[in-house]
Symmetry: C2
Subunit: 333 residues, 2 copies
């Protein structure tokens, strides 16, 4: 089997000086373990945070370990009552052609006729982050204004569409005119700001005349500060990620406009999608219903081959992607 | 009557170049208005924020207007059914010897035998900020670790004592050894960090081995950042004020460690005491019970004379005070 292991803690974008592609024997399964062959790997910004030193919601990946990553594949050998050979599973195999899985929180057995790529783009962790982050943490009300950054990304594009379904005015922030056009013309956003060519603070004033009630933040940095400056009374900031600062090597600057949280009774709150595990069924049932009704659309960028994982991950930070970035390790059977 | 009016927006600490003491005739009362003679004025950091341009939870004080401030006094003339001459009221008379009051949210009629100075220090807005901010926003649980800054101040010293009553481990952060000694030796805090002589981040690691579950922030600035660095999983940051930055003239630096709110599922939330108006009775009844049981102590610094208001307000920012700063405008009758 092949795997990509961490060789040193990266600074900035990931490079082949930080990771190495290795060939190694298949692991011997202990009692309670099964082996999955990986078909697709999900590129998520949080993978980059796992490579840094320091404790997050999961331990850091250690030097010499396979880069942690979620993915989908079939069970090919089993020493675990929970899985039979042939089962389709969604787990954390890492950047590898095969991964060991157990009957735990990190592995879900899927219906055998689950369409795999939509599972990566919308009916899996990405969709759950958008659904629970927006609805449970942000609590948008009809008529309110919702702003979402990385609006052309996998999570952001879903957040905006769910906010529209919830009856909100939705303004995206994205890094290209093409992404802005996609979310406004195809996904129904009410507006979108190109943060590379426009003054975000000024455009927020124009596009959000009643200010911002909910901000779903994927980027952090100066954009978070600008939206805090436009926050409405009792505004909520949902912290999903901070792709603008994950690659910073120094201490990142904080949002000075956090002061508005005081005078405007605001709330800024982080969340971890895995905490909603026991409600994933509710979420995916709802997302599938909306998709069947034509209310949810998504895009994906398929990248071919395990060795493309570092490039594929970096796309999230350079903004090269629109929609979900998925690495295809082997063809679907 | 005498009043202190705003002449220009202050930069940094308030000076007599920013405000002017003027003598003017008593106002003519319109229908629905009454006149209070001011006895005590409450020095609160929020007064400083009202002098800045820009919208907060109340409009900014305009140039030429009396500096807004809460205080206590007696009704001496009335054209309002709600108040009779002689009534004791707590209202927003401003920095003045007399103030116009109405039957609205900003005025409360008090029992005639209310002890006035404890009303300023603990059974008024200060106590309500500590009570609702800690219990309703921070939601401390028994056994958790609570940290409070400006621990030697009026609000902070109450927050720590209420957190002890709630069964928490309590660590203060204050600006002098005397203040630290007061809160640990007399108020029962488990520890206190002198931020002027100690490394706050390092001392937090030593004094909060299980990290910080609730941080009640009165200061903002680098101390907020240090505590965010020590935040526990599902930690809550209650934003009450930011005396370290209210006097900043430039854009204040933000807390870079806000990133921990993501990986640790944290929440940072502001609140406005006035929003709890309909529960003030509950709060003051509880605070009085605790005081009668010997569980709450407080200190005040009495400053004599309306013309001392600017100096008295500045004490909050230079750290000259321990406990509540109250300006006595006239002697109690």
């Amino acid at each position: 089997m092949q795997a990509i292991v961490l060789r040193r803690r990266p600074e900035g974008l990931l490079s082949w000086d930080d990771v190495e592609l290795v060939t190694q024997p298949l692991p011997t399964l202990a009692e309670g373990e099964a082996l999955m062959q990986v078909i697709y790997l999900s590129m998520d910004a949080t993978v980059r945070t796992w490579l840094n030193r320091g404790e997050g919601y999961l331990p850091a990946v250690e030097i010499g370990e396979v880069v942690r990553c979620s993915g989908i594949g079939h069970i090919v050998a089993t020493n675990c009552d929970a899985y039979a050979v042939g089962d389709l599973v969604y787990s954390l195999p890492g950047w590898a052609t095969y991964g060991v899985v157990r009957d735990d929180l990190f592995t879900t057995k899927l219906d055998p006729d689950t369409p795999l790529r939509p599972m990566m783009s919308v009916f899996g962790g990405t969709g759950a982050a958008a659904y629970f982050g927006l609805l449970d943490v942000g609590k948008p009300q009809p008529g309110e204004t919702v702003v979402v950054s990385a609006a052309g990304g996998a999570t952001g594009s879903l957040v905006g569409q769910i906010a529209k379904i919830a009856g909100c005015r939705v303004v995206g922030i994205a890094g290209s005119d093409d992404k802005c056009a996609w979310v406004t013309e195809e996904l129904g956003f009410d507006g979108c700001i190109n943060h590379r060519t426009e003054d975000v603070a000024e455009r927020l004033r124009a596009l959000c005349p009643d200010r911002v009630d909910v901000y779903f933040d994927n980027v952090g940095g100066p954009i978070l500060d600008d939206v805090l400056g436009a926050l409405n009374q009792r505004g909520r900031v949902v912290l999903c990620g901070a792709i603008a600062v994950y690659n910073d090597t120094g201490r990142p600057a904080g949002p000075g406009n956090y002061l508005n949280l005081i005078s405007r009774r605001g709330r800024m709150e982080g969340f971890i999608t895995l905490d909603y595990w026991d409600r994933f069924d509710e979420c995916f049932t709802q997302l599938k219903t909306w998709a069947a009704e034509g209310k949810l659309r998504w895009r994906e960028e398929l990248v071919d081959g395990l060795d493309r994982c570092p490039d594929a991950l970096n796309m999230l930070f350079t903004g090269a992607n629109t929609g979900k970035v998925v690495v295809q390790v082997v063809p679907e059977p």
